[in-house]
């Protein structure tokens, strides 16, 4: 099993090296092939893992010469998240192969090797981060994803994307100070970097370490006060945003926080308080920032910030003893990844066909391109949590968990209600945009739109299906 996990991590890295060594036209095929290979490995891992009765396997023995390198843990949570990040990686790779073309109305481009190499490295690093069982491993992959995200956000090589990319890199790097601190403290006290050692720390030190990890998590997941990099990062090519800012990079934060909570045993309540209060603050902030946005991608960025806040809220509530909230949060990582990727890819498809993603000039999407119209609606409903779409089920679990612990902590009850209100309000806001853009006669811009390439349609189709299915997959898997 660990060999399969390792293969999932290393295959994309190998692919990146090959991409760097091959001529540019081959890069696209190599990129897709290796992303596919990685998915095959991780699905294989999931199958073997499920067949074996989902045993938690953690080993620190992967030899590199005569020395040991990084430990890995395979358990229900890591396999689920790994499948999501690798599968979406492949979907984005398939989509990008056609998106980066001379026909793209907004950004005509040939899809340089740089994109493919860094995308593959990113997939590998994400898989590594998901499977690693040590704080130092988290730190290493955290930093690698940071460097890759810089290269991908700045892909268009203009001053503005570079500035945004630098902002993303610097802010997340500052936040990584938390992981440095956590790793050093854990190591100095226990002599190991293993996450499992968290449980054995004395309470005071455990609080410090968990808070340090929480700070790093906020940075990567663009929560207050580290949120400002994400909206600017929308300068990235849209498939990059779809992958980094929906499925993978922003999930690094919530994931490392979730893993440390899982490993920490008895968690001091202060972590729960800090986490849930900051989450609700971020929720409110993110919602307020919806209002002035006209660019679809920037709207999505703020939406991502609030959805991640839900996940933090769920994780923080679990500190007070709600298993339901924890599972809801993990399921939301999975569901939100597919739904938000769909939304970003719809935005990218609009750029591709119509040359803009400014909401006010888009009208009659459904009439011109049914798949885009349906995708837009489904994504909006899934994000805002309307049944039967995936977002509903995971958010429901988080809220249910909130009411469960709210029964004994009135303040938590208040926080949960605030979050619930935000959910309703954001539903109304998205509905407004859906109503304006999707139905009706095509606007001038939309009427002039070009048809979508087949590969992009295929990816959108798969993701539309996933917005319904993903929550059942997650629920079934987490049991």
């Amino acid at each position: 099993m660990l060999n399969l996990a390792l293969a999932t991590i290393l295959t994309p890295f190998l692919g990146a090296v090959l991409v760097a060594l091959s001529p540019q036209p081959v890069a696209k095929h190599l990129g897709r092939a290796f992303a596919g290979l990685a998915l095959a490995f991780v699905l294989g891992l999931a199958a073997v893992f499920a067949a074996a009765g989902k045993p938690t396997v953690a080993r620190t023995v992967i030899a590199f010469g005569d020395v040991e390198i990084l430990g890995f843990a395979v358990d229900t949570v890591s396999v689920l998240v790994a499948v999501a990040v690798v599968a979406i990686g492949l979907l984005v790779a398939i989509y990008s192969g056609d998106y980066f073309s001379k026909d793209n109305r907004e950004h005509a481009d040939i899809g340089r090797r740089r994109f493919w190499a860094f995308l593959l490295v990113f997939i590998g690093a994400m898989a590594g981060l998901v499977f690693t069982s040590t704080v130092i491993g988290q730190l290493v992959f955290f930093e690698i994803t940071g460097a890759c995200s810089w290269a991908l956000i700045g892909y268009y090589e203009k001053p503005k994307p570079f500035a945004s990319a630098l902002k993303a890199l610097i802010i997340t790097h500052l936040a990584s100070l938390g992981l440095y601190l956590a790793a050093a403290l854990l190591f100095l006290d226990t002599g190991t970097f293993s996450l499992g050692a968290l449980a054995g720390l004395p309470a005071g030190l455990k609080t410090v370490v968990l808070l340090a990890i929480l700070v790093a998590a906020w940075g990567k997941s663009a929560q207050l006060p580290f949120h400002m990099w994400l909206p600017d990062a929308m300068e990235a090519p849209t498939p990059v945003s779809a992958y980094l800012h929906a499925a993978s990079m922003v999930k690094v934060g919530v994931y490392i926080f979730a893993r440390s909570l899982m490993s920490a045993g008895e968690v001091p309540e202060i972590i729960g308080w800090v986490g849930s209060i900051m989450a609700v603050a971020t929720l409110i902030y993110g919602f307020v920032m919806y209002l002035p946005q006209a660019d679809l991608k920037r709207l999505l960025a703020y939406s991502t910030i609030t959805q991640l806040a839900y996940i933090f809220l769920g994780l923080s509530l679990s500190v007070f003893g709600s298993k339901l909230a924890f599972d809801g949060a993990i399921a939301h990582i999975f569901n939100h990844a597919f739904a938000k990727t769909l939304f970003f890819l719809v935005a990218g498809a609009l750029s591709f066909t119509a040359g803009t993603r400014m909401l006010p000039v888009l009208r009659g999407i459904l009439a011109k391109s049914p798949v885009l119209g349906v995708g837009f609606v489904v994504a909006a409903l899934a994000i805002t949590g309307v049944p039967p779409f995936s977002g509903f089920f995971s958010k429901f679990a988080i809220f249910a968990g909130g009411f469960e612990v709210g029964a004994t902590h009135p303040v938590l009850m208040v926080l949960t209600v605030v979050a619930l209100l935000e959910s309703v309000a954001s539903f109304a806001w998205f509905l407004k945009w859906v109503g304006r853009t999707v139905p009706g006669e095509p606007s001038e811009t939309m009427a002039a739109a070009q048809p979508l390439p087949a590969a992009m349609k295929l990816v959108l189709g798969i993701l539309i299906v996933m917005t319904v299915v993903s929550s059942f997959v997650a629920t079934a898997w987490l049991g």
């Binding site: 590199f64 010469g65 050093a184 190991t192």
Partner: protein, 523 residues
């Protein structure tokens, strides 16, 4: 201590090479012969250095000339660095200097001067790190300045002459402080040790350090730190460094930054050992921490604002030397080990990126970052390697500086210096921004029309490829023999027995735990 001919051989090879090249006539027809001699000499030197280092790594400290030369594991680390970086920059210089010659930057005379002084420079640096005689050590440090001054001023243009002048005047004045410190130490030793002759040998001084006059030891250490710290490029004595590094031919910049600074640090470490044994660790550690932190703080901002590629890299050297000094200041087996590992790692990465800056110069004819654009498009291999070098120096995994920086920060926390460690991490973020600027501004982007597509020759690329490989290997897992040598070197400094391990944080978690623990006293 076992007498051996190897240290003498290591010194003889570059010296003979320098003399041999000096004797060749400087005409257009003889440049190939000079190159042959040059290549032969660096190959021979690396063979001798390898033999010497292996000998020491096996556990025997070797000496020569009646104890005047002495190579213990600490010295061996630095000997190995000089041999390795000398070999690779020497190979790089093969293509680079030939390019300069073909483009009229230098004449056959300059070509010859370069090669003579290149080997002389290697000789003087080797003399520094193999000296056991503290006065000879000082003489050798002074000689490195004199040996490299003409290399810095090789192009004979206004800025390079200015740089050379500043370098020599600040270098000699700084090292005059070093002389004073040396004289004080010797005089102190001579009045305590029965044997006057013996007081000049570092090994004897170290063995009787506790008998030295504490006041004099402290004064001497201050002088030594100012003196050799100047040479190492610590703030505020670093003023010569950006000028000299940026004006020197790129292979020399690489040597200066990767090896020369480390040689000066080596001398500081030797005195650190004496001082620690004589008056305890607190006094020297505080001084090193102050200078180290100040260097990191000032250099990270100056690094950020530079517009000239090589000046940027030069300030990065100040910063990393500061980090090493800081790690020495944190002390303990972890701090010392991290410092030595960082010295090695920084050498590899800095040599790589200075060679990369040489490729930029060959391609664009300028170091102005405003004009260098799109390196990746016109010279893909150079571009990728510059990118790797930049990321490595910014401290990203999976490259080597991440490992040692992590250990340094760990040492900071282990020694209880929370605030300093935290501030350093913040300052390192500024560095990240600075290096990312290099990549986004110059490696990526559209190349100017006038620059044709096509990489520089394999002679320049091959040694860089080796450096990239080393940067990655040291970043993924420190190879056992290297780790052992650094552990032994650490043991020399902290005075424990030779078993304190050094490794990347994910290598064998258990032995590093021992590294963080207080060292067992030498039995």
């Amino acid at each position: 201590m076992v007498p051996s001919v190897l240290p003498l051989l290591a010194l003889a090879v570059p010296l003979v090479a320098a003399i041999g090249i000096a004797l060749l006539p400087a005409r257009d027809g003889t440049t190939r012969r000079t190159e042959t001699l040059h290549l032969g000499a660096i190959a021979a030197l690396s063979a001798v250095v390898l033999a010497l280092v292996v000998e020491v790594a096996r556990g025997t400290d070797v000496s020569a000339l009646g104890g005047w030369l002495y190579v213990d594991p600490l010295a061996a680390v630095f000997v190995a660095l000089i041999g390795l970086i000398g070999l690779l920059t020497g190979l790089y210089a093969w293509g680079y200097v030939r390019h300069d010659l073909e483009h009229g930057e230098i004449g056959p005379r300059g070509h010859k001067i370069f090669h003579v002084f290149f080997h002389l420079f290697l000789f003087t640096m080797l003399l520094v790190v193999t000296s056991n005689n503290i006065v000879m050590m000082w003489v050798a440090v002074e000689a490195t300045t004199l040996g490299s001054a003409f290399l810095v001023g090789l192009y004979g243009k206004r800025p390079s002459l200015e740089a050379a002048w500043k370098y020599v005047i600040i270098g000699t004045v700084g090292v005059a402080f070093g002389l004073y410190g040396t004289v004080l130490t010797y005089a102190d030793g001579a009045s305590v040790l029965a044997d006057h002759e013996g007081a000049i040998l570092w090994t004897n001084l170290a063995a009787h350090a506790s008998a030295l006059d504490p006041m004099l030891v402290k004064i001497a250490f201050v002088f030594v730190l100012i003196g050799f710290g100047t040479k190492a490029g610590l703030f505020p004595m670093h003023a010569w460094l950006p000028d000299a590094h940026s004006e020197a031919p790129s292979p020399v910049s690489a040597l200066l930054s990767a090896v020369l600074l480390k040689c000066a640090l080596f001398v500081v470490i030797r005195y650190l050992i004496l001082t620690t044994r004589a008056v305890g660790a607190d006094f020297p550690q505080i001084l090193l921490m102050i200078l180290g932190f100040a260097s990191v703080a000032v250099a990270s901002f100056l690094l950020y604002v530079q517009k000239d590629l090589k000046r940027k890299l030069a300030y990065s050297s100040v910063e990393h030397i500061g980090l090493i000094a800081l790690a020495l200041g944190f002390g303990g087996p972890l701090g010392i080990g991290a410092a030595i590992l960082h010295a090695v790692n920084h050498s590899l990465a800095k040599a790589l990126i200075f060679c990369g800056s040489g490729n930029v110069l060959m391609k664009y004819g300028t170091r102005d970052l405003g004009e260098v654009k799109g390196l990746l498009r016109v010279a893909p291999a150079s571009g990728v390697m510059m990118m790797i070098g930049s990321l490595a120096l910014a401290g990203f995994p999976p490259f080597n500086l991440f490992v040692s920086e992590f250990l340094i920060l760990g040492a900071g926390i282990a020694s209880g210096h929370w605030v300093v460690t935290g501030l350093v991490v913040l300052l390192l973020t500024v560095t990240v921004a600075a290096f990312v600027q290099i990549v986004s501004g110059s490696v990526l982007g559209k190349a100017p029309e006038r620059i044709g597509v096509g990489d520089v020759g394999w002679r320049a690329l091959a040694p860089m490829g080796v450096l990239v490989a080393l940067v990655v290997v040291m970043g993924v897992a420190v190879p056992r023999p290297v780790a052992r040598l650094i552990e032994d070197a650490t043991a020399v400094v902290v005075g424990a027995d030779r078993a304190t391990p050094i490794a990347a944080p994910w290598q064998k978690a258990e032995p590093i735990a021992r590294l963080a623990a207080p060292a067992a006293p030498r039995s």
